[in-house]
Assembly symmetry: C3
Homo-oligomer: 138 residues x 3
């Protein structure tokens, strides 16, 4: 069995970390697939899918650590060439990846108790983002 | 065909890098799936699945590079709020990811000669970790 | 349905970023799978698969940011032990990952307009690299 779905989320950009676990779980249930694999992906190059313990302290830590490693206000070649000022967002996205896959077992995605699936929007403006899921299994 | 299995490993924490390739290969063989996809994941938010050339020099390099980029003894908001002192472990895990997928071809996972699948425990204590695998194919 | 293919690319090493999207799309079409999952992987431990907006500015930014975070000319234990001087390449590869999975929907990989699949060779010499793809679906 194969099940595809997409949904849109509105983000604020600037390392906006959005918990998409409930939405994903809803579609896993709707798929009626109880054993299989799910791929979650962004169609875009300035955001990422990953997992964190979704609590405000850690959300802030991730923002500041990533901005410390890959600062926003730097003269990246991308910015100088295209003038959109989001070179850092592209690099963060390439580093963390735009898609992730997980196992589904007994009707649920394999996740820890304190582990949530998040979308992080690294872009420098508010955006509407399409997240796509594809589930294969039985 | 779909094949699910989980296994537990005892770790020391503090960037403990554990070679899980033999265990994974054992289950691939047991699955009798010779062409397909495997997803390997941790249920947890302070460890990661990745691949390295598993040799002691590189294991030490990865520890020191990651601790240089995301140091342990920093006042992360997560630590100030929850007092468990493992904010760095959460960030490292979000960066490297808790799950990875690979191809299975001719009965074997596609890996290089000097490439092993490892679990890295970033937490600040010894832990028992459940690693889950889901294989789909024929 | 399951479809496996591999292809070889010649790289220059030193963070050589190669756009493999057209090659991948060609094989997706050849597979006749219109709904499913694709796993793209390198058999090797000194390169990575990821996505970027493939334009020369960003390609240079990724090189310089990664070399700033994980410099090449450092006395890594791996280099001191084996003398091959590519310790940084191994660490970059472990960080970005050697495989990625994407959804296939309506006969196409889910990607943004400005998002390409790239292979990055971090090694310190020119290499011939085997990229493997495995597609499952219908």
């Amino acid at each position: 069995m194969i099940f595809y779905k997409s949904f849109t989320i509105k983000t604020k950009g600037f390392e906006d970390v959005i918990n998409i676990t409930d939405k994903i779980n809803f579609f896993v249930k709707e798929s009626n697939i109880t054993e299989g694999i799910i791929v979650i992906s962004l169609a875009g190059s300035t955001g990422s899918i990953t997992t964190i313990e979704y609590e405000s302290g850690l959300v802030n830590d991730i923002k500041s650590v990533l901005n410390n490693l890959i600062p926003r206000g730097v003269d990246y070649n991308h910015n100088l060439k295209w003038g959109d000022g989001n070179g850092d967002a592209h690099i963060k996205s390439a580093l963390l990846g735009t898609s992730k896959s997980f196992s589904i077992h007994n009707g649920k995605i394999i996740l820890g108790t304190w582990q949530q699936i998040v979308f992080i929007d690294f872009d420098n403006r508010s955006r509407n983002r399409d997240i796509h899921i594809q589930i294969i299994g039985e």
